[in-house]
Subunit: 459 residues, 2 copies
């Protein structure tokens, strides 16, 4: 990211301990928060965004580990571990953890992705010290007892079964498999019934020790928060666990990688007795740090990002062929995906795929109209600002930025970058990304003859 304002402020060491360094990264104004960062001894980063006009705060801890870091035998270990961190520490039982946050009406949860894991609690600002204490305790003091591992195995198998029962969700896992095959990025975050059944407390505990070192964590808080106070409380909690003792420890930098996707023209069909056929048609996209992401964001918005987008208009508004149809991008350290989802009657799947493919080809060849570009820039700008009104979204933004980019970008700079996207930039990224030969994933009750025709959409 670009255009950061670094303003280092010295912070005196207290009680002879190692010095923590605090920087003001972004100066807030007009309802936009001030972003500050402190790196504690032990290599623990703490970023906050202070927005005094709200009454709530969201506190989160991001771990630099995702399903991408699993060997085949450890499939689902990152997500399993995420569940186990709620099961108890030396100081708290599972009930103590949930009761503490429930008692103040807070919302506590976690999510595991392919490249990171995040634990968070959203509470009233007055309850922030409690949230910090509980979440830090979970991250630093988890017991991972065999009995808890066994009880939670059932929960995770139910979660896998629940996902299987939602084909509109499940088809995205299938698409990852279609594009990445049997590789870390292609395997499901939840693991499979077999890999989850094979995981033991010992293995998960080793995984925990390896990946939850303070140098691999980013602490993020946003809302009506005081940076110095957050740092003090986090430091106390991690100190109590003896986790900040390596004073020479250095935070790990953003993830890199060398993955290049060459998948093209692949078709995967999962036969299911569903009412709709759920399809994802897509191709390789771009990496998270790729400068073309602004142009691709505008392109994605115009193509399938709203009710006025091409795909919505052509597939739903004009022809009534689907209820849900949209495009999306997902990106990783070194690669990415561009995809179009639609859910439609099995008998209409070829029409829908033909229309989607035609639109992708059209835009690959001709880019967007001036009117589409203007509208997509407006849409992306407005939704960016509207999307940052709750403290959870703010926490996600600064935490993920620190972990994945190692820097922060101001909202104004983001808006300026979106507004500066040119027709040429869009045409170039459209020609490159949408010009790639697509692949296709389908879940539904397609008959042999219909299934045989799926290849037409990716030829």
């Amino acid at each position: 990211m670009t255009s950061l304002r670094h303003q280092a402020t010295a912070r005196p060491s207290t009680k002879g301990r190692a010095v923590a360094r605090t920087q003001t990264l972004l100066q807030g104004e007009n309802g936009i928060g001030t972003v500050r960062k402190t790196t504690l001894p032990g290599g623990l980063r703490v970023v906050t965004e202070t927005l005094p006009s709200v009454r709530s705060a969201t506190f989160g801890i991001w771990a630099h580990v995702g399903s991408r870091d699993e060997t085949p035998a450890l499939g689902g270990a990152t997500h399993y571990l995420e569940h186990l961190l709620f099961k108890g520490t030396g100081r708290r039982s599972a009930l103590d953890i949930s009761a503490a946050i429930d008692a103040v009406g807070g919302e506590m949860n976690a999510f595991t992705a392919k490249e990171y894991t995040c634990y968070y609690a959203r509470v009233l600002d007055t309850d922030l010290p409690l949230a910090i204490d509980v979440v830090c305790d979970m991250l630093t003091g988890s017991l991972i007892e065999p009995a808890d591992v066994d009880a939670e195995r059932g929960v995770i198998l139910e979660e896998i079964a629940m996902t299987e029962d939602d084909p509109g969700d499940c088809v995205h896992d299938l698409f990852a498999h279609t594009m990445f095959g049997d590789t870390p990025l292609g395997r499901p975050v939840l693991g499979t019934e077999d890999t989850v059944n094979a995981l033991t407390a010992d293995r998960v505990r080793r995984f925990y020790r390896k990946h939850y070192d303070p140098t691999h964590l980013v602490v993020a808080a946003a809302g009506n928060v005081d940076h110095a106070k957050v740092v003090r409380l986090v430091r106390r909690a991690f100190d109590r666990a003896g986790a900040l003792e390596r004073t020479d420890a250095v935070p790990v930098g953003p993830r890199d990688g060398t993955r290049t996707i060459r998948t093209a023209g692949r078709v995967e069909l999962l036969g299911r007795k569903t009412e709709q056929a759920h399809v994802v048609l897509g191709m390789p996209g771009i990496a998270r740090t790729d400068d073309r992401r602004w142009a691709l964001g505008v392109l994605n918005t115009a193509l399938g990002g709203g009710m006025s987008s091409r795909l919505f208009q052509e597939v739903r508004e004009k022809r009534g062929l689907a209820y849900s149809v949209y495009s999306y991008t997902s990106s990783f350290a070194d690669c990415g995906l561009f995809g179009v989802y639609a859910g439609c009657r099995p008998s209409q799947v070829h029409d829908v795929l033909r229309i989607c493919r035609d639109e992708l080809d059209q835009v690959a060849q001709h880019g967007l109209s001036d009117e589409e570009l203007r509208r997509a820039i407006g849409q992306l700008s407005g939704s960016t600002v509207l999307g940052l009104e709750d403290t959870g979204a703010l926490m996600n933004r600064i935490g993920k930025s620190e972990l994945c980019w190692g820097e922060q970008m101001s909202v104004d700079d983001m808006l300026a970058r979106i507004a500066a996207v040119t027709p040429d930039e869009v045409r170039e990224v459209a020609a490159e990304v949408l010009g790639r030969r697509p692949s296709l994933s389908v879940i539904g009750p397609l008959k042999d003859k219909q299934a045989a025709r799926l290849h037409e959409a990716v030829s």
Copy 2:
């Protein structure tokens, strides 16, 4: 609701038009908004909540019509109409409507329930006049052309198919059928393939004329909004459509009804080849205006409202039998439901039902512990405040209050009412509601022997 502060302020008539009457219903402070109401000629109510610390605004129009108002032949008409209002007016095509809101990054949508329908747009505060113009135009100037009705029929049939493919959603429709049978409250909001196929443009247009009279509408806006300006813009938009001419028109009051649910011990099973069995075990609850709703809210929270709740602890945390398990209440003008949902392996369905039934029985007999009561009150209070941080939630609260209760309640009064819930109140409502004989709805691949045993859970 209780404890409203009415503070009528005279408002001079302009240009000889009929006088609009404005009241300040709730005085804001400490991050809580000021609520004002104006009743325009034509019987159109406008309520706003002004919260100057935010940068966004949500504008909505609530219609006093839901699937409950449909005859069997009109099944799904309310929801069909909701879709058609996005298809165009005398001034705007469907694309004009969506492009207007997309261009500013706004979020526009609508939802249809059994007793009301709501259309809304969330935008940056500077774009509020645009949102008002578009949404008012949709509500007052919809064309409902036969060609649009036909194209949208396909979309709605896809929406029905999509819902069918999500058994965790679908089981709630089944539960309404189990409890209410083939009555307006028991039929699905979306209608069925047959009723949707039978609806014509003429029928839907008649339904529109009958139910979208200004006396049946409530306009609500929340966020960084100026009440007088909102009233002026709404008046102009409705005037343009000639919709405010009946100066003696009086707004319709909250809905009433005389429905009493006597369903008990009924079991409905929908066989499906899903991975999980999706179950709802429940009984008649209480009406929306019932004073016991505060005690039932606390009870519901303690029983199945969070990770520390009894059902979560017993079913998931201790035994790992489900990923998703929760209780909920739903209420209508004259009746209500209390239900427990769980998704689990078909082989475990009897264990899960036995545990849920045991917990319901336990609480019906003994109420909650002091610790549970204290925690549930804290949880409900905190989540009430946290739930009102975005302008969409504020708009929903004031709009629904005006339509369904005909009055507004301050957040402080709500918190006071929650805090005042006593162990005796909880015991009484628990004995009455949870003491009723439950009914059961199940979607899943249960074999004959398992299906036969379902009656045990409701005996």
